[in-house]
């Protein structure tokens, strides 16, 4: 464990995981909003919106995240000149958030859409019968009921998001995986403890998260 008693290494470890948490937090919020919007588009009466939602999902679900993040850096920042912060790492961080959100939103969208499918059709029909518009039907009747059945998928998506955040390391953020690689590089004699500490940190955070969402889903499940 001598590797982590060196304060420099320990700091790198802590700040690496903090980046992961910050990436996960910001991207989770953005992806949730964007994903629900996309799902609404996909079930909307406007064909162009439906097409846009479908295209988004198909493009982002089928492209490796590494490439998505790559395009955020080289496309948005380098080519389109979209700098999100003057600070080097802040900029990479926000570009990473954009990429993770765009990618994760595709999965959120599909989860919400299948959640909408679990709501009995009678609910929507009743809503329409009392004169609610599409937006009202979705917002007041369908989505709140769908929300319960998407808790469990959302848990899995959140966990995947947290793990995927490591990929932002490929555009130069010193997050956990990059820090681990560097530590292994310079401490070849302590490979196993290094891996166990890094992997263990993820496991310690994500396994309880998984169980929490499972518990929540069970608690809120609608018995039909």
């Amino acid at each position: 464990m001598h590797v982590f008693t060196d304060p420099k290494n320990f700091d790198a470890y802590v700040s690496g995981f903090l980046w992961i948490l910050k990436l996960t937090g910001a991207s989770a919020v953005c992806a949730l909003v964007l994903g629900v919007l996309l799902a609404a588009m996909r079930v909307s009466p406007v064909p162009v919106l439906r097409g846009f939602g479908a295209a988004w999902v198909n493009i982002f679900r089928n492209t490796p995240l590494t490439l998505v993040i790559f395009f955020c850096y080289f496309g948005l920042f380098v080519t389109l000149g979209l700098a999100l912060s003057d600070d080097l790492f802040r900029n990479i961080y926000w570009l990473g958030v954009v990429g993770l959100s765009a990618y994760t939103a595709a999965f959120v969208c599909e989860a919400v859409r299948s959640g909408i499918n679990t709501v009995p059709t009678g609910q929507a029909e009743a809503a329409r019968a009392i004169g609610l518009s599409f937006a009202q039907t979705l917002r007041i009747v369908v989505l709140p009921q769908a929300a319960r059945s998407v808790i469990a998928p959302f848990g899995s998506i959140l966990i995947a998001l947290c793990k995927n955040a490591t990929i932002v390391g490929t555009i130069g953020l010193m997050e956990s995986s990059t820090v681990m690689k560097d530590l292994i590089n310079f401490n070849g004699d302590a490979v196993i403890p290094i891996f166990l500490v890094f992997a263990g940190t993820f496991a310690a955070v994500l396994i309880p998260t998984g169980y929490f969402f499972g518990w929540l889903a069970n608690r809120l499940a609608v018995k039909r």
Binding site: M1, F74, F77, V78, T79, G81, L88, I92, T170, I171, G172, T178, K181, D182, N185, F186, G188, A190, I192, P193, F195, L196
Partner: protein, 287 residues
């Protein structure tokens, strides 16, 4: 210590389970670890596995199925000197971060990949050479006046896990360091002005600057702030192999094949071939 061993056993047990699930696929990379050095291997098997860079124009660049560049030419000279024909060399792409592991684990027999000789690496592996003395420098836009002492507040691009990146972090803490896994990713940024300089060894930078698509756009500052003796990496205990490689280099300097190697690769950039200073060759792990 015990803790570490326990951990190793646990991990190994976990892997054994996986391996069992994988079925018996162990014929991959079975070069073994009890190697008797590269001289022995070259003699008995008549072939060598050599690690080179794949993305550094002029030094080690993979052009389709072939590798070309100065490092590759040097590697060919060494292989020839060991009695291995060019066709029997198996080239392996290495990146900066995996060179020591590759040598230690026996994935490759030799590494000729812009590989700076330093004490930290000498702890793990042995170096023959140096066959070239490079120096860390900056690549900037052709109209830039930036020099190394003005780096504070500037953004510099380099490769993570490389010596140049580490030196920037330690010696120029005020410079902002953008790290990627390949230098080729730094160049569009330099072109677009998102980074102020790309830093690594002058010879590597020259290779990029000479590429046709960047011709005239960039310049190497020409004021090196380090000395990077390029060595040939091999196993730590392979003293005989190391000495043999040094002999081959000495002969190559004498018979002109060193110069030919330069002319066939980096010579295209117009830089005349350097002299190989044979007095500087390492002592191969001896004190």
């Amino acid at each position: 210590m015990r803790m570490k061993r326990m951990a190793a056993i646990v991990a190994a047990a976990g892997l054994a389970v996986t391996m069992a699930a994988c079925g018996g696929d162990s014929d991959e990379g079975g070069s073994g670890t009890g190697a008797t050095g590269i001289v022995g291997k070259a003699e008995s098997q008549k072939k060598l596995v050599i690690g080179v860079k794949a993305d550094q124009p002029g030094l080690g660049l993979q052009t389709g199925s072939k590798y070309e560049g100065f490092d590759v030419e040097i590697a060919k000279i060494i292989a020839r000197g060991l009695g291995v024909e060019e066709g029997n060399i198996e080239w392996k792409t290495t990146v900066s971060a995996n060179r020591e592991p590759f040598i230690e684990q026996g994935t490759v027999d030799l590494v000729v990949a812009t590989y700076t000789i330093n004490d930290e690496r000498k702890q793990k592996i042995n170096f023959a050479g140096p066959y070239f003395i490079a120096g860390q420098d900056l690549l900037v836009k052709a109209d830039s006046t930036l020099t190394a002492d003005q780096l504070a507040g500037k953004t510099v691009c380099s490769v993570s896990g490389s010596t140049p990146a580490k030196r920037i972090q330690e010696n120029y803490p005020d410079a902002k360091l953008q790290q990627f896994d390949a230098y080729s990713k730094c160049l569009p940024l330099l072109e677009g002005g998102q980074v102020d300089a790309v830093t690594t060894d002058d010879i590597i930078l020259a290779g990029y600057a000479a590429q046709s698509q960047y011709a005239g756009k960039f310049k190497v500052v020409g004021n090196t702030f380090s000395e990077e003796p390029y060595g040939i990496g091999l196993k730590k205990d392979d003293k005989a192999g190391c000495e043999k490689v040094n002999e081959i280099l000495k002969a190559a300097a004498a018979d002109g094949s060193y110069k030919a190697a330069w002319d066939a690769s980096l010579g295209a950039s117009g830089t005349p071939a350097p002299e190989l200073d044979t007095t500087k060759l390492t002592h191969c792990g001896a004190v």
